[in-house]
């Protein structure tokens, strides 16, 4: 199994990094945060067409580039670092992986290429984004494919063209597709703590979905692993950015005639944060390598999600604290990452839930053995 990035992957990282450094400045982020859709169509078109990012992790046979969780992780780490605002996570990651894993072949042939080339922006309606055990609890499907129910937290729900929906059928879980403009669909923007990722409530009333696949528990576990690891990459990218900038700040800020970065309490806190970041990064990258090697039933995806989330929140808290009052102002950029950290912490399951899942997996593995 891989333990470090290959040369090709390092090069890809540099390209991606340059792109988001240019196109996702904090000025841009702040501007987009104030808009309703929360993304810049021009940048979306560029990252889709020039770099082909939304198709990175999708199979070549369905219009993707056939790379895997490691390359996707590289993208998300840079997105987290620059707080990229756009429907990448909702469309390419959530809806893309859902279709790839749960979809019928016909549906994949029809829909994945559009997601891969960015021409269609999809999003996934799954559950309350909290815990795998609740999947399908929100939307019910009749045998005829009429969908009814309400999902309170749909990422980029207001700007998506298509909803990919996991719904409860009479027996089991079905996968459905539904145009966002279809009859019986009501979309209402929800205020989120994190203004850089938009959410909406989507309410379906006998909306006519197209059945495009079905969901097995095993596929669902794989889906959870893949999306959790992608999100963990976003979080360590954000955390690393915060640590860099916070350390720089403490070097230039003087109080009591000395840079505050020379105070031992601050130095030790930053040292502890670096350790936490290195550990979260190690866990996240390792989880990516494991998934790329098709390892099943490993603890690493949940471990990565739990560690990256705790690290990102700790880092965000410290980044504000070490700046003092100015760190709590709107004008200072730190809160943008703090709010992303808070939302990422609970998206796809809170750290304590992922830790519980780790032990479940270990015990199941023992029972099998």
């Amino acid at each position: 199994m891989q333990t470090v990035l290959s040369e090709d992957q390092e090069q890809f990282k540099h390209v991606v990094q340059r792109f988001f450094d240019t196109h996702s400045t904090t000025t841009a982020v702040r501007k987009l945060a104030e808009t309703e859709t929360g993304f810049d169509p021009l940048v979306w078109a560029q990252l889709s067409e020039t770099l082909g990012l939304p198709g990175t992790h999708l199979s070549e046979q369905y219009g993707g580039h056939g790379f895997g969780p490691v390359e996707l992780g590289i993208i998300l780490e840079e997105m987290g670092r620059t707080l990229y605002c756009g429907p990448f996570f909702s469309s390419a990651v959530m809806a893309g992986y859902a279709l790839e894993l749960f979809g019928d072949d016909a549906a994949k042939i029809e829909r994945l290429p559009q997601i891969a080339d960015g021409s269609i922006r999809a999003t996934l309606i799954l559950d309350d984004l909290n815990h795998p055990s609740r999947v399908g609890g929100l939307i019910k499907a009749t045998p005829a494919g009429a969908l009814t129910g309400s999902a309170p937290i749909v990422l980029d729900g207001c700007s998506a063209d298509v909803f990919i929906i996991v719904a409860q059928e009479d027996s089991g879980l079905g996968l459905f597709a539904l145009a966002s403009k279809a009859q019986g669909v009501e979309v209402a923007a929800q205020d989120s703590i994190d203004m850089t990722r938009k959410v909406a409530r989507v309410t379906l009333n006998q909306a006519a979905g197209t059945r495009v696949g079905s969901v097995s528990p095993q596929d669902l576990n794989r889906f959870w692993d893949l999306t959790s690891v992608a999100l963990a990459h976003e979080m360590i990218g954000g955390a690393a950015r915060l640590l860099d900038e916070t350390v720089e700040y403490t070097k230039g800020r003087y109080q009591f005639g000395r840079p505050i970065g020379s105070f031992q309490a601050l130095k030790h806190r930053c040292a502890d944060l670096l350790m936490s970041l290195e550990f979260a990064k190690a866990a996240t990258h390792h989880a990516g390598f494991c998934l790329a090697a098709n390892a099943q039933e490993t603890i690493y995806p949940s471990m990565a999600k739990a560690m990256a989330a705790d690290c990102f929140m700790d880092m965000a808290r410290a980044a504000i604290q070490l700046r003092g009052g100015i760190g709590f102002t709107w004008e200072n950029d730190t809160h943008l990452w703090f709010k992303r950290a808070k939302c990422d912490e609970v998206l796809l399951g809170a750290p304590y839930q992922h830790r519980a899942r780790m032990i479940d997996i270990l015990q199941e593995a023992q029972d099998v053995a």
Partner: protein, 415 residues
């Protein structure tokens, strides 16, 4: 005077003079004239030289009868007590009455972008001219500055002395062209503070307090009053609910302005009071891991409460010994707020992402999650509190200071 005598005299006064139909200022002028506006103050300056116990009788009568008292809270209180302690007789006679009547609002101009924890590092410049002081610089975290008529200002009048010795303390007219007040928005969307830009602002020579170069000593008085908690909140004598009548209506408006910066303050404390109910409502209480975290939170909040009670009982009973109540309580509040936010997040699950009136507890939980970072910064960071506890309570040795020479030679931001 016996407590009964006080009560009798005050009740007679109120019977004769108070009417809810008076304007707020008119009523407070009557209070002032009779010495009931600030009975703890010296008789020479609008008070009655009362003891704490005697003044308590006055507050009780005000409370019982729902009578409006003098304007006493907020930054104006800091100004009043400081002027009382260090001002000239002329300053007291000039400024105190309109503080008590509420005609003048005040603000505090101490912190600067370059001196937060290190207040004595202020670098706003005060130059003495023929008939005034010329003030240039920038202040920050100035609560209510946008409503203020006057400010208490610390500025540097001498750059060649060590930093504590070169400061002077001024009373500055905020309604002048050289003073610009800009609201400062916080990460939770509220704008409780301002930035104040001073550009060739002027202070008459008479409005220096405590003498040139004595600014730090005067500021210390202000800060100790602030630490006693008088800087905010409604005064104890104020009626809980506005009754009918002009005086109450005007008071309600005054309080609304005074309290506006503080509406989110309960949220920065983490709202531990909402935890148990939310855990039950959501069913999260059934999770053993959540239960542990709730129990830890209860341990902290209850211990902090009990500890504060024990300290105050100990003080009341004349007990001695160093009681590190203030800084420990403040540090404890940070720990509590942080842990409460953590538990609220566990209880909310993914819906912790949502904010606004439709979200949990009408948006109060979301506001809590993005307000708690303030508690460990405002009023002295956790780091400063730990220094105080270590040095003043535990007697651990101070670090060698790096800022003892002439102020102009001390390394500062951007140099």
């Amino acid at each position: 005077m016996s407590h009964d005598q006080i009560r009798a005299e005050l009740e007679a006064f109120l019977d004769a003079e108070f009417s809810p139909d008076l304007s707020l200022v008119e009523w407070r002028k009557r209070l002032l004239a009779a010495g009931w506006a600030a009975p703890l103050w010296p008789a020479a300056y609008f008070g009655r030289d009362f003891s704490q116990a005697e003044a308590l009788v006055v507050s009780q009568v005000f409370a019982e009868r729902q009578i409006v008292g003098a304007a006493q809270v907020g930054p104006r209180r800091l100004a009043a007590e400081t002027i009382l302690a260090h001002g000239t007789s002329e300053q007291k006679l000039r400024y105190l009455p309109k503080i008590l009547t509420g005609e003048h609002a005040w603000c505090q101009l101490f912190s600067e972008p370059g001196s937060g924890s290190d207040l004595a590092g202020a670098s706003t410049r005060a130059e003495r001219k023929a008939d005034h002081w010329l003030i240039n610089g920038q202040k920050v975290w100035n609560t209510s500055a946008h409503h203020a008529d006057f400010g208490i200002l610390v500025a540097r009048s001498n750059w060649d002395l060590p930093k504590h010795q070169g400061l002077s303390y001024f009373l500055i007219d905020m309604r002048q062209p050289g003073v610009e007040v800009r609201p400062l928005k916080q990460m939770n969307g509220h704008a409780s503070f301002n930035e104040v830009f001073l550009t060739d602002a002027r202070v008459p020579l008479d409005d220096l307090v405590g003498g040139e170069g004595k600014g730090w000593a005067v500021a210390t008085t202000t800060l100790s009053i602030e630490r006693q908690g008088f800087a905010r909140g409604r005064s104890q004598g104020a009626p809980a609910a506005a009754s009918a009548g002009r005086v109450y209506e005007e008071l309600a408006r005054e309080l609304e302005i005074d309290n506006e910066p503080y509406t989110w303050y309960p949220q920065r404390e983490g709202r531990p009071d909402l935890i148990m109910q939310r855990a039950q409502d959501t069913g999260a209480i059934e999770n053993d891991v959540v239960r542990q975290e709730i129990a830890k939170l209860i341990c902290l909040t209850e211990a902090a409460r009990i500890s504060a009670n024990q300290v105050s009982a100990h003080q009341k009973s004349g007990g001695q010994g160093v009681l590190p109540a203030g800084s420990i309580g403040k540090l404890g509040a940070s720990v509590i707020a942080r842990h409460a936010a953590h538990v609220h997040t566990m209880i909310s699950g993914a819906s912790a992402m949502l904010s606004g009136p439709d979200s949990a507890a009408d948006g109060v939980i979301a506001e809590t999650l993005i307000s708690v970072p303030a508690i460990s910064i405002a009023g002295g960071t956790d780091e400063i509190q730990r220094n105080i506890i270590a040095e003043r309570v535990l007697g651990m040795p101070k670090e060698q200071r790096m800022d003892t020479g002439p102020f102009r030679d001390i390394p500062r931001n951007g140099q």
